[in-house]
């Protein structure tokens, strides 16, 4: 084996200076606008694991269970690192991505000594530059996924292996073992890398180049690295088993290989293979030099690059090969191309001084990477419809919705907790048993059947609902719960860290790392609990395929309403048959002691145990065998509240309800706003229920709110008197001209300050009076939303949508809908303009424009879109000019974001979009969102002075207003800055 080291100290210093410059440039590129692209799904999977406790994090990665984030096909090292980074308090996307940036830079740095050692000359320097400027590497250095970490550790282990072989010192071998083991824990690609290193050592041995005194440390080091991986081996095997497909292959072919090579060398470039060919040609030159000067080093490099390729050819899996599985090629090609550049500069630079030659080679490296680098401005602005957009829209439009419920105990919960902390409450605990308005949130992949109409917001689906809690439940003959709906929140008396997972149909832990409890309290029927109480339960054990069965447990407890609970039974994995199935169910029948009093408590206490897994109730049925034999248990299951045969049952439930939430008296023509009051009406036919308004009023009420669906019906089964509960403010939280009310009742009576208000629509200037409190004269451009909140700047927002055409801008000169999709263009080849007037009646201080221009690169002709703003309508200031020429491609269609701080606040700001002709477009649709935001000074607008109840209100046509006694959430942080 031979390594090449022929540097003078002067040359060394020059190299270091150049290397530092390369690193600085690489750092700037990787750190720039790091939060411009919000986290996407795979990164959230990483984040979800990283937020767990370290022990749970480790175990959860070799486990596919129902009650946590979805499967993550990576060993735990990156998650652990991010876990520690988050411990410093970081809560932004940039914090989550920062480790990858640092590992990416580490990879660039390590390539320097590795290149020098393997290939000699200035190869290391040029290789570092090629990797530092590789857009493919830049991309994976800005993602919270393990590729940058893996590459840095793999390169580090290669370098340390060469050092150890050369020096044969203990500390070098120890460092190698550490790096190799860490590499194995960073990615499953690590095993191929270790195999390549082992193969290299075997080659050395076979060729007699491995001195006998190095043989033992080699073998021991490899063995130590492999042994260090043993604790994770079950997880590794679990994932291999998961992806194994006896008939499958990874689909590696020449086409994929060519595409991968193009991504590695010219990521983002839309043209042909010219630059890839150039890069590969230089790399081949480097390979020739490597073989001529350091054959074993060249073999090591080839093995390291080639083994993942071989793996992709021979592995039988159900997953298709992706260029990132061959990511070893990225630094590998950079190393070879670095050697090629070194060869070229040495051979052809004639009389140039050494340093000038190095600078020239670095510039050539930059030129080789230029196809990718040139797309950086667009890369930073790439749009991928992140979940944060959907959550932002959800939060902006939430009005009086206060809580989020989730159809499954993962996915959207993690998104919402990350992006909307404090914006919504949740159902994690039963601290508030009062009436709550909520969104039930589902993803695009699954939504529960028969759960009503879901509305789509980007990649989310959601349904608004109102939740009342009617516990304690009357128990006449039977009660059952199967966790397929949200009825637990309606009927359980208390819960903590437990709730229904509608997808798995289990009672699951909200936070899988903590214990949880759910408690149901039952009222005895008249005459008390008779006979015996039978409890039938079913439980599901979900086992990991890679770790021992979970030692989670469920304890069933019973009590008599005094607070003290007695364990009745405890289930662990030992109670299940030790079958091969990873999901097993067990039924359990118990006889509960009959309570002497009128109350019975039944609780399930879930313990996550020391090993992450799940043991969860899927069903329970409590039967009071002493009840009437005529009870229809099917009906009871559908409406357990119907178990009480007495006429006062509905009244009893209503009385419980009244202790938790306000039941308001409906007054014709008066709309209640800003509170959570419910209207309770007796159902017609069987007499009025005390506490509810007479049934005779119901038709008039429904005439005032046509089509209104009830939130809850109490005690209406079997033809008994019942109560129906309505919440008009759930269906229509805002006041509007088209509404029925000329008077409003705010926040339940008395004087309550209006802390915030939101106006939607078009109109103005107009004023709004609230019982003597008057807003400044306001104006709303068409489709605008104006939010005013106490202590915050007013926020005006327009979300243009070009699906149907330009809408109603202030000025439209020749702009029409383009047939290409949700975009506008000029009707002919001449220029056209669109002007939006942003005004709300208050001085505008700041602007933000997000838009997506696109233009065709016509030979000899510049096409594009120019964005300009004006604070007075006379002088326009250009914000952006997106122009393309000659490329013969449609370019752009990436978001461009600009903000302006107005030195002189203006009551009206114009935004002008000038299109060069019909070869230019502006997009505004679901995948290319356009947004115009303005922040205005609203001193004294809110809080309004308190309002008397009820108060008259007059709204201009086309305007609706939502009033709230609470502040609006600050959502500006969710707006991307670039």
């Amino acid at each position: 084996m031979r390594t090449i080291q022929t540097h003078t100290s002067q040359k060394f210093e020059a190299r270091i200076v150049l290397l530092v410059l390369v690193l600085l440039a690489a750092a700037c590129i990787r750190l720039a606008w790091l939060d411009s692209a919000p986290l996407w799904w795979d990164e959230f999977v990483t984040l979800g694991r990283a937020k767990m406790a370290l022990t749970d994090l480790w175990r959860s990665l070799s486990y596919q269970g129902p009650s946590d984030v979805s499967l993550d096909s990576s060993p735990p090292l990156l998650h652990t690192v991010i876990h520690m980074v988050l411990a410093f308090g970081g809560t932004s996307d940039a914090w989550v991505k920062l480790p990858s940036v640092l590992f990416g830079l580490a990879g660039v740095l390590i390539l320097y000594p590795l290149g020098n050692r393997l290939l000699g000359g200035r190869s290391g320097l040029y290789s570092s530059a090629l990797l530092g400027f590789s857009l493919f590497h830049i991309h994976y250095s800005r993602e919270a996924r393990p590729y940058a970490l893996y590459l840095s550790l793999a390169l580090c282990s290669l370098w340390l292996l060469l050092r150890a072989l050369e020096n044969n010192r203990f500390r070098d071998w120890a460092a190698y073992v550490l790096a190799a083991a860490a590499m194995l824990y960073s990615s499953y690609l690590g095993s191929a890398s270790l195999a390549a290193q082992g193969g290299y050592l075997l080659l050395l041995l076979a060729s007699g180049r491995l001195a006998p005194r190095r043989l033992v440390p080699c073998a021991v080091s490899l063995a130590c690295a492999a042994l260090a991986y043993v604790p994770w081996l079950p997880g590794h095997l679990f994932h291999m088993e998961l992806i194994y497909s006896p008939t499958g292959g990874m689909g590696l072919n020449w086409d994929v290989l060519g595409r991968s090579l193009k991504e590695f060398t010219a990521y983002g470039y839309q043209g042909g293979f010219t630059f890839t060919g150039l890069y590969v040609a230089v790399a081949l030159l480097g390979l020739a030099r490597a073989f001529s000067r350091n054959r074993t080093g060249a073999l090591l490099l080839c093995l390291w690059m080639g083994l993942p390729l071989v793996a992709a050819l021979v592995l039988k899996t159900g997953i298709a090969v992706n260029p990132r599985y061959l990511i070893n090629f990225v630094p590998g090609l950079a190393l070879l191309a670095g050697a090629g550049l070194d060869t070229l500069t040495r051979a052809l630079s004639l009389g140039l001084p050494d340093r000038a030659r190095a600078v020239l080679a670095l510039l050539a490296a930059l030129a080789l990477c230029w196809p990718g680098l040139a797309t950086l401005p667009e890369y930073y602005r790439r749009e991928q419809r992140p979940i944060s957009y959907d959550l932002l829209q959800l939060a902006e439009d939430k009005a009086n919705i206060e809580a989020l419920a989730f159809v499954r105990n993962r996915h959207q919960k993690i998104f919402a907790q990350w992006y909307l902390p404090g914006v919504f409450g949740d159902f994690q605990t039963s601290a508030d048993l009062g009436y709550r308005r909520y969104y039930l949130l589902a993803g695009a992949d699954w939504q529960p059947e028969n759960a009503g109409q879901f509305r789509t917001v980007g990649a989310l689906r959601m349904r608004a609902g109102g939740m009342v809690n009617v516990s304690p439940m009357p128990l006449a003959s039977a009660y059952q719960e199967d966790f397929s709906t949200l009825t637990m929140y309606r009927e359980a008396s208390s819960w903590d860290n437990a709730g229904p997972d509608l997808f798995q149909k289990t009672l699951s832990l909200y936070d899988p790392s903590r214990p949880g409890t759910a408690l149901w309290r039952f009222n005895a029927p008249p005459g008390g609990f008779g006979g015996s109480l039978k409890l039938a339960c079913r439980f599901r054990l979900t086992k990991s395929r890679a770790t021992p069965p979970p030692d989670a447990s469920v304890t069933i407890l019973a009590g008599v309403g005094s607070g003290a609970m007695t364990p009745v039974a405890t289930l662990t994995q030992a109670d299940f048959r030790d079958g091969d199935s990873w999901k097993e169910e067990l039924s359990l029948n118990l006889a509960l002691p009959r309570p002497a009093g009128q109350l019975l408590d039944l609780a399930f206490a879930l313990s996550p145990g020391a090993i992450h897994g799940s043991l969860e109730p899927v069903f329970f049925r409590l039967e009071n065998t002493g009840s009437s034999p005529n009870a229809n248990t099917a009906d009871l299951a559908a409406n357990p509240a119907a178990t009480d045969a007495s006429a006062s049952m509905a009244a009893t439930l209503l009385a419980h309800l009244r202790t938790r939430t306000e039941l308001a008296q409906w007054r014709p023509g008066v709309k209640r706003i800003g509170d959570k009051a419910l209207y309770a009406f007796s159902l017609d036919g069987l007499g009025d229920v005390p506490g509810a308004q007479p049934a005779a009023l119901l038709p008039a009420f429904l005439a005032e709110y046509p089509g209104l669906e009830p939130v809850e019906v109490l005690g209406a089964a079997k033809g008994e008197p019942g109560v129906v509960l309505y919440d008009p403010a759930l269906a229509s939280p805002a006041l509007s001209k088209s509404g029925h009310s000329s008077q409003a009742l705010f926040a339940g009576g008395g004087k309550t300050p209006v802390e915030s208000l939101v106006l939607n629509g078009v109109g103005g200037p107009f004023t709004l009076d609230f019982d003597g409190a008057r807003l400044p004269a306001l104006t709303l451009p068409p489709g605008a939303r104006l939010a005013l909140s106490s202590g915050a700047a007013g926020h005006l927002r327009l979300l243009p949508d070009y699906a149907q055409g330009p809408g109603q801008p202030f000025l439209n000169f020749g702009v029409v809908k383009a047939p290409a999709g949700e975009c506008l263009t000029c009707q002919g080849e001449n220029s056209c303009q669109l002007v939006y007037a942003l005004e709300c009646g208050l001085p505008i201080q700041k602007l933000r424009v997000q838009y997506c221009p696109e233009a065709y690169g016509e030979p000899g002709q510049s096409n594009g879109v120019t964005l300009a703003w004006s604070g007075d309508g006379n002088a326009y200031h250009t914000l952006d000019s997106f122009m393309v020429k000659d490329s013969e491609l449609w370019e752009g269609k990436h978001r461009r974001i600009f903000t302006v701080d107005l030195k002189q606040p203006s009551r009206r700001v114009y935004l002008r979009l000038s299109l060069s002709g019909d070869k230019a477009r502006i997009w505004a649709g679901p995948d290319t969102p356009m947004r115009l935001d303005a922040w205005c000074d609203a001193p004294g607008a809110v809080p309004l002075t308190t309002v008397e109840n009820p108060f008259p209100i007059t709204l201009p046509a086309g305007v609706e207003v939502f009033l709230s006694p609470r502040l609006l959430p600050d959502l500006d942080r969710l707006l991307p800055s670039h």
Binding site: L344, L352, A367, Q808, G828, S831, D872, D886, E891, S914
Partner: protein
């Protein structure tokens, strides 16, 4: 020249083919005042010249995407209750800041509304706005188009038409060959 240098040159030469560097912005709105014609008398506002777009004449041969397109592509004007004459007068007040805040963009909206309805003074003013880049982006093609319509309108005073002709003459030098082709002029 060395090979790396060649490589560099090749790459840099090809770079514009890949991604275009943004051009500098279009011309900024000029602050110099337009050359307005005299405000139309009330009679003119009440009965504006009934020139119908597209204009026919030797100077301008309307191309498929010029006048008719404007007519069909313009959204319902925000001041639709005004007659063309009223729209012009209000626009002129906004242009000059006469008892209302000076606002060339609002003036352009009003002039556009009146001009597309055939009001020659509005056509003239709109041409001036396009020529000077005031309220509208500077665009010699559209300036020429509107000024040409105004210059040929018998409803406009000879003084103003003369001004229009003068502006047209100076615009001739600014138009590119392609723009002249689009306008149908030599």
């Amino acid at each position: 020249m060395t090979v790396p240098a060649l490589l560099l040159c090749l790459s840099l030469a090809a770079a514009p083919l890949l991604v275009q560097a943004p051009l500098t912005g279009t011309a900024q709105a000029q602050s110099r005042a337009p050359t307005p014609s005299a405000p139309a008398p009330k009679a003119a506002a009440a009965s504006p010249t009934s020139a119908v777009l597209p204009a026919s004449g030797p100077a301008v041969t309307p191309t498929p995407d010029s006048p008719k397109v404007i007519e069909s592509a313009v959204a319902p004007p925000p001041f639709s209750s005004l007659t063309p004459g009223e729209a012009f007068l209000l626009g002129y007040r906004h242009l000059t800041g006469d008892t209302v805040p000076r606002d060339a963009t609002k003036a352009a909206v009003l002039f556009l509304q009146a001009a597309t309805a055939g009001e020659p003074q509005a056509q003239y003013q709109l041409g001036v706005l396009f020529m000077d880049g005031l309220g509208m982006p500077k665009d010699p093609l559209w300036a020429y188009y509107w000024l040409n319509l105004a210059a040929r309108s018998p409803g406009l005073s000879e003084d103003v038409r003369a001004q229009a002709r003068g502006r047209l003459q100076s615009l001739q030098g600014e138009l590119t060959a392609d723009q002249k082709r689009r306008l149908g002029i030599k």
